[in-house]
């Protein structure tokens, strides 16, 4: 899977975002991470094709059995949906 790396000063945690390029809540999640200068990597699963698309959606279901977007992995924790409070807590913001 090809992730896009977003550099940021806040690199204390390993943050991986599984998103859809068309989704408003995924867009808000990216905006929240950017505003808080969090370093993260993301993949827009709707822009993947073939094997990469199935690999990415299987990974999302492994982290979040509903298979919904956005799914954010912060170290070993998983946040589903745009949940600002939970992200602040995990990212110590």
């Amino acid at each position: 899977m090809k992730f896009t790396h977003v550099p940021g000063q806040n690199a204390k945690h390993r943050v991986t975002l599984y998103a859809l390029s068309t989704c408003g809540w995924c867009h808000k999640t990216k905006g929240f991470l950017d505003t808080n200068h969090v370093q993260y990597e993301y993949i827009d699963v709707d822009q993947c094709q073939g094997d990469e698309r199935s690999e990415a959606s299987n990974k999302v279901r492994e982290l979040n059995p509903r298979g919904s977007f956005p799914t954010v992995q912060v170290d070993a924790e998983v946040v589903t949906g745009f949940d600002e409070d939970r992200m602040r807590e995990l990212l110590e913001l």
């Binding site: 859809l20 390029s21 068309t22 949940d83």
Partner: protein
């Protein structure tokens, strides 16, 4: 930060049409204009990719029969707006959402997990379901909003929610 973003004309036009249709039928579009315009842009992007307006916040299978329940307006909209104040992507919201009585945020996914994994499938009708042959005409039900009508065939478009003909089921 809240300045109006630039959107292509087709997005603005579709937004105005959806807003008008929603208001005429008693629905509300999300008043957060930038957020809503982005969703409309996502819908149009999905229409180009798949040939139908798949929900921008759900991953399409790319086959209409597997995605039919999440073509906008989706089968889950009305109950999600009622219970959570917004549909899954928050294109449609309730008055309580607009007034701030309902917390703004993403809502839980109502689409069954098996549809998320394998795509939509029809639930077979129970064998005992009544099919009165005495009716002069069949009754059709819109699976998006529940509109019922008795006529030889389903309407081309639901007069309430504008869902297409293929989203009607034989009800009686």
């Amino acid at each position: 930060m809240n300045a109006e973003e630039r959107f292509p004309d087709e997005v603005l036009k579709t937004y105005e049409r959806l807003k008008k249709e929603a208001e005429e039928a008693g629905y509300r579009l999300n008043p957060d204009r930038n957020f809503t315009l982005r969703l409309v842009q996502g819908l149009l992007e999905n229409e180009k990719r798949y040939g139908y307006l798949c929900c921008p916040c759900r991953l399409a299978f790319g086959a209409k029969d597997k995605d039919v329940d999440v073509i906008c307006p989706c089968y889950y909209r009305d109950s999600d707006v009622e219970e959570s104040g917004a549909c899954y992507c928050a294109l449609y919201v309730s008055d309580d959402w607009i007034s701030g009585k309902k917390k703004h945020g993403s809502i839980p996914e109502s689409r069954p997990a098996r549809f998320m994994r394998d795509g939509y499938s029809e639930t077979p009708a129970p064998p005992s379901s009544p099919t009165p042959s005495s009716l002069p005409l069949p009754v059709w039900r819109c699976k998006v909003c529940g509109y019922l009508c008795a006529r030889p065939d389903p309407p081309g478009k639901c007069p309430v929610c504008k869902a297409g003909k293929d989203r009607f089921e034989r009800f009686m």
